[in-house]
Symmetry: C2
Subunit: 270 residues, 2 copies
């Protein structure tokens, strides 16, 4: 495979930094020495990378012209999602959007009306996206499969996360279709580091983890199912991002235009 | 729904007995007072049910003529599978084949060349069949999803079960396609009641249970998946059998002929 040139949007943010680390550690990629970021980090330099605030987008375009083609990875903030995407689309730069939030419909429309392609995925953890797709498949094809079963959902995340896990909420929808009336409010959220230590979250990941367990019990209690997916740190998301970049690169090489791909597309690899 | 008349093949065997209990406990069914069985139980009576050994098949046909239409549920022995199926097919009796073994290809051909339909399912536990279908879906659509992951499989069954769990073996095939090279010989089999008590199998189910756990760990050990399905006793299989009967009844009513349905068809309900 030819080397794919990559620009990061969102440095020095945590996810962008994690992707930077993985990109630098993989021979398949070349990290360009320029990156887009928010106004407040404008003109900073980070390990030889020059950061362009959003007010200097045109300058960024001129300075990166000679590096084309390249792919932008966006891990910024919800309020920047649509503005950034419009910039990428009108500038003809394919992008991987890992940032959540913003107007998602508008985001997809923007790509579909452009000459480029994008991978848009609020969750870049391939294996977890795969698991969710499995449950979506079951919910669609075997509605009511777990009728009568009791359900318990426990999720643990760093104490700074105030809202309920988006993955757990999506899973509730699938379980509902599978015949279990369960309310999102009944998801048990663990945010207390003391309790997290008790369930086994390693000390070094108390500040960054996503643990989920789903327990299903048959009405007569003779059958028990349990599904667990525990993620420590952010490596899985960064690794999935690399796969998304490679997929997008191939799609652009194949001449695909105006297509917004999902992580499911990346998983399918077709 | 109209009441479905049912005949059991395989009484006084354990599974046939369990299905008998469930059929009697459900208003949707009427259990006929005659049943097919092996030669050695011929002419026995069981709670008002007369057992016909295989040598008295013609007599059974004559005696049940007035009860038609009815559905036969077969929980006999591997060596009886094909002979019984041929008898049901030529006699125009739709059947649910829960017995494993025999020549499965011949079994399906037999149904396809007949005027009746059958549900053929070596595993009648709907929820477990559904779980396996989810993994088959993932293996087909996301090959290599768990590449690099480590896998551990532990299954526990009653001490009388000598071979490895068929479900675990089927799951290994899916995990292989998902990118994990794992050998069936590496499945950890627990057959010792002492160890089963340790992992929590209830005392009353030591003689009849099927517990399975699959543990997946990412190469860098930051991500962990666990899937568990624990079945105590045989109720789940009997309940799935009732669903298979209802499905088959509907298919016959719809005029379907010469079709061999699987448990996946029953799950899909179409």
């Amino acid at each position: 495979m030819e080397i794919v040139r990559v620009v990061l949007s969102g440095l020095p943010g945590k996810m962008a930094t994690k992707v930077k680390e993985k990109v630098l550690g993989c021979d398949d990629f070349e990290l360009l020495p320029c990156a887009l970021t928010s106004k407040r980090h404008d003109s900073e330099r980070l390990d030889g990378i020059e950061l362009y605030g959003t007010q200097r987008r045109n300058e960024f375009l001129e300075d990166t012209e000679k590096h084309r083609p390249f792919i932008i990875v966006d891990y910024t903030t919800p309020d920047a999602v649509n503005e950034n995407a419009e910039f990428y689309c009108t500038s003809g730069i394919p992008f991987v959007m890992g940032t959540t939030g913003g107007d998602r419909e508008k985001l997809i429309e923007c790509v579909e009306g452009s000459d480029i392609c994008a991978v848009i995925a609020p969750n870049m953890a391939k294996q977890i996206v795969g698991l969710m797709a499995m449950f979506e498949y079951a919910a669609t094809n075997f509605p009511g499969l777990f009728e009568g079963y009791g359900l318990e959902i426990v999720e643990s995340h760093q104490s700074t996360k105030k809202d309920t896990s988006g993955t757990a909420k999506a899973m509730v929808k699938y379980f509902n279709k599978l015949g279990i009336p369960f309310n999102i409010d009944d998801i048990q959220k663990i945010r207390d580091p003391e309790k997290q230590r008790e369930i086994g979250v390693p000390e070094e990941y108390l500040a960054g983890h996503g643990w989920h367990t789903y327990k299903l019990t048959s009405p007569d209690r003779t059958v028990y199912f349990e599904f667990t997916h525990n993620v420590n740190g952010r490596d899985i998301y960064a690794l999935g991002t690399l796969d998304a970049i490679k997929y997008l690169h191939r799609k652009m090489e194949e001449g695909s235009k105006g297509r917004a791909y999902s992580m499911i597309d990346v998983l399918k690899g077709i």
